[in-house]
Amino acid sequence: MSEDRPDPDALLARVQREEARRVRGRLKVFFGASAGVGKTYAMLSAAHEKRDEGVDVVIGIVETHRRADTEALLAGLEMLPARQVEYKGATLREFDLDAALARKPALIIVDELAHTNAQGSRHPKRWNDVEELLDAGIDVFTAVNVQHLESLKDAVAGITQVRIWETVPDTVFDSADEVELVDLPPDELIARLREGKVYMAAQAERAIQNFFRKGNLIALREMALRRTAERVEEQMRDYREHQGITEVWQAGERLLVCIGPGEMAAPLVRAGRRLANALHAEWIVAYVETPGLQRLPPEERDRVMEELRTAEQLGARTVTLSAPQMSTAILDYAHEQNITRIVLGKPRRSGWRRWLFGSVVDTLVREAGDIGMHLIGAASTPDAVRNNPMLARSRAYLGLQQHSADKKRWMGYVAGAVATAAASFVGWISGPTHELVNVVMIYLLGVMLVAMRFGRGPSIFTAALSVAVFDFAFIPPAFTFAVSDTRYVVTFAVMFLVGIVISNLTASLRTQARIAGYREKRAAALYEFSRVLAASHAESEVVEAAVKHIGDEFQGQCVLLFADAQGRVEYPKAPSQTGSLHGADLAVAQWVHDNGHPAGQGTDTLAGAEAVYLPLKGAEQTLAVLAILPINLRRLFLPEQQRLLETFLSQTGIALERIRLSASAQQAQIKVETESLRNSLLAGISHDLRTPLAAIIGAASTLDGDDARLDVDSRRELARNIHDEAQRMARLANNILDMARLDSGAVTLNREWYPLEEIVGGVLSRLQPRLEGRPVSISLPRDLPLLHLDAVLIEQLFVNLIENALKYTPTDSAIAVSASRDATEVTVTLADRGPGIPPGSEEALFDKFYRAKPEQTQSGVGLGLTICRAIVTAHGGRIWAENRAEGGAQFHFTLPIEPEPDMPPVDEMPPAGAEAP
């Protein structure tokens, strides 16, 4: 074996990939440069071939565009009826995913991978449908044009001046098992167009004028060929890796694409993908959220999130960094992640502003060291929507309730006016004694206070107002806005500028403090949550904690839905807690449970549902589905909130799995124990029941068949035999019943106050016939207190111990019952003069089905002492056995001394006989 064998982890990953592929259906993509190259035709021809091979082929949906030769190919293939969807008065034909899943063919033809589904469908895009088909293990043939690939859409738009709206993530294309390029030279395509084979004649001419210009077609064809070649190269690499072929690779490249909120984000992501692909590099898309960007209006922030999601679909890892300075955040992250290249947009600031304020790009270039830089210029796209950032920015985004924020801002302006008035008043009353400089200071103090309390807008307003009032009230000529000395203009300018700087500084401080506050709150919430989870011992506790904490943190109602034994998601059976969500859509939850992907509002699947449904994944399967109806949906999809929610979910999942694992381990343990118990019980009982039964049946049948041949003594002997054996069986049955009752916890102690003497007396009289000829000594001290006990059970305890002694000791040996007390308990001892306990088995004696001498037929099932232990334990005492120094065994048990009950009134009267009747 060579030294440079493949990395085992990589091999494992490939094996897993192949494993997954085996279960998953295979995807074959018929790839073309543009419409009309004959993808559908090629696809249908391939389908016919498959059918002839005996494969179960079904057409899911096919767009023939009325092309005759293509339509001819439909004949002989099974076709699923299309779903008819009413949309804005028109009836649309849509692919019926559920019918396809129900039909479950081996291979299904689904044309137009980039198609957008009609509203109300389960998935927004057809490629989502295809993914689900593949997940269900169905092979899929599909077709797509190069301009529909997400990463190429800008390039295509640049060439053709046509904006492509329907796109397919490159990951879908790349994960296809097979890609077949359907190629047609541009001249032939144009010829086909003219012949009306692609579009109807009238449409065709317009198409040739616009999209199907020869130049466009050549460019598109090049792109399609190149993309296919890229795939082939990747396959080649994969193959080499598979075959263990190694070569010197350049050090792994890692790309960091930094995007901002502008319209540059989309081209940056796509450029990043292309670059990453060319370099075979891992790529990360980062968004740095500075305090300034945090104030962006929600729509713009959403756009960034959208772009991050697109990047994920293109195969990138995404990250949102939160820092006051963009350049430091990027550099820190790049060093931390060993980034080799950074992709950025060209700086927007230019000229003097760039010189004055610097730009992120300049800082990065200066400080990046050995990290390569790629600057991407903004390509003006034909219909790029520009909205007015100034207008949007004027509405500061505070993240939470917009309404209360508005109110607070309004208050801020009032406060600004009040602060200015107060400063003016102070300035005015001290006017004669102070320099005007001090009055300016008082105004600036007001500006700062407003900035601290109400933020930027009100404080700038205060600064402006202060300048105006200062001018009006203090600058001669007084009570006019006129200025007598031009030096004061400088004062005004500096005063205003200082006010604005103060506002900005204070405002960004406030923002950072708020961010820090949010973070701390999140950390605290997570800490609290994990603490509660760690302390939970039951699934219900975990669920309760999860619903409460997730509900609190995301300010919404939520509920955890579990599947029953058949895998059907159902509503929780436990009474709902406050804040739990009612009326979750079980169908959506079921889909999430089965597929393990999020669904519901704001997601790609079943977006019509009111709530958001997220899978709670365990190590192996989806454990539950979280349905959450947040007050503020946008807030739930903010990246940091998403991460927080993910953490909550994974914590919940881990806690649930921990509890389930320990429960199932416990169950397994109990099962094993029960199994072995049942076996020994059966063995013991069958032996102990059969022996006396055999004797009884034998004796009884002898008596029955006796025709006065037996003498009286023999008959009595047989009858006594039957009696004794029956007694034995009765004792056995009692023991088994007692054990069962004590085990099942069905016994509640019926405690009353008893003197021990009375119990011992009762036991001895009950056992009298069997104690005949045994010397039994009893020594109970006079000072024993009344004991609070269940007399019937304690009697049974004595009976079992004495019977045990009778069973194991010689018939004439002595038995001694004694007791002693200390401050807290009474210890009762039963000693015999038998052979003693086998050393080492002092503890095992009390186990179920333990027998001192298993081979000895006379012994019982071995429940007697187990029952004793159960009884003593139920009374709060202990029981143990030991051998006596002078020979024999002794059993001790303790009973706790409890505060004695009230005593009967003293009754010392003259002797009864002295009284008259």
Partner: protein, 235 residues
């Protein structure tokens, strides 16, 4: 006591047990009538003019305690209860409702016959009203209780008892051989307000045993029926 054969009604749903009882009792000179459920049993008890009823507590159609209560509405004839071992509470309830004695299954024929004899003799004594002097031999000790003169003699030596001790002994003497439940004893000796203080009873029973028994841990006269009550030995 009449010379005719004593009549016993057996109310028991298990046929084998009925058969054993019938065989056993018939061979000892009893006339036995059987009923396999409570309703039929009540009819039998009303029509057969029995001297004694043997009643199983676990009947298919009605609660055995209910049968005792219905019988007690019109007759004081002795009732002996048969019960399974796990039916402690039912047994006590039946005794408190007026049953005279009980036997726990499985029981031997000897025990059943002994209980029958005690109950029938008790009836005879009450009817003859000749029970003012009670004498008992217990392994060498002789106890004599003179109810008329409130005197207790042990081997001809007077024993001094407190009033409560004496009342306790007197109740047991009047029911000699039969089990008296804790509740009944508390009611007779201390009054109906004290039935929830069974430990009073146990303390006085201890004193009584210390005065009367040679070895209180192995009583010869005052037997404990654990969980149920006390019984004064009768023979």
């Amino acid at each position: 006591m009449t010379t005719s054969r004593p009549v016993v009604v057996v109310i028991e749903d298990e046929a084998p047990i009925r058969q054993v009882i019938r065989t056993g009792l018939a061979s000892h000179g009893y006339e036995v009538h059987e009923a396999d459920n409570g309703k039929l049993g009540l009819v039998e008890a009303a029509t057969r003019k029995p001297d004694l009823v043997i009643l199983d507590l676990g009947l298919p159609d009605m609660d055995g305690v209910e049968v005792v209560k219905q019988l007690r509405t019109w007759t004081s004839l002795p009732i002996i209860i048969l019960s399974a071992r796990t039916m402690e509470m039912d047994k006590i309830a039946a005794l408190d409702a007026g049953a005279d004695d009980y036997l726990t299954k499985p029981f031997s024929m000897g025990e059943l016959l002994a209980r029958l004899r005690v109950s029938l003799r008790h009836v005879a004594r009450v009817s003859e009203d000749a029970g003012s002097v009670f004498e008992l031999d217990g392994s060498g000790r002789k106890m004599r209780v003179d109810l008329a003169h409130r005197r207790v003699l042990l081997d001809n030596t007077e024993v001094h008892l407190t009033p409560i001790e004496y009342r306790l002994l007197a109740v047991l003497v009047k029911n000699a051989g039969k089990v008296v439940t804790h509740r009944q004893l508390l009611k007779y000796v201390w009054g109906p307000g004290h039935v929830d203080r069974p430990h009073y009873l146990r303390i006085y029973m201890g004193c009584l045993r210390a005065k009367l028994e040679a070895d209180p841990a192995r009583p010869r006269f005052l037997h404990t029926e654990i969980g149920v009550g006390y019984r004064l030995a009768a023979e």
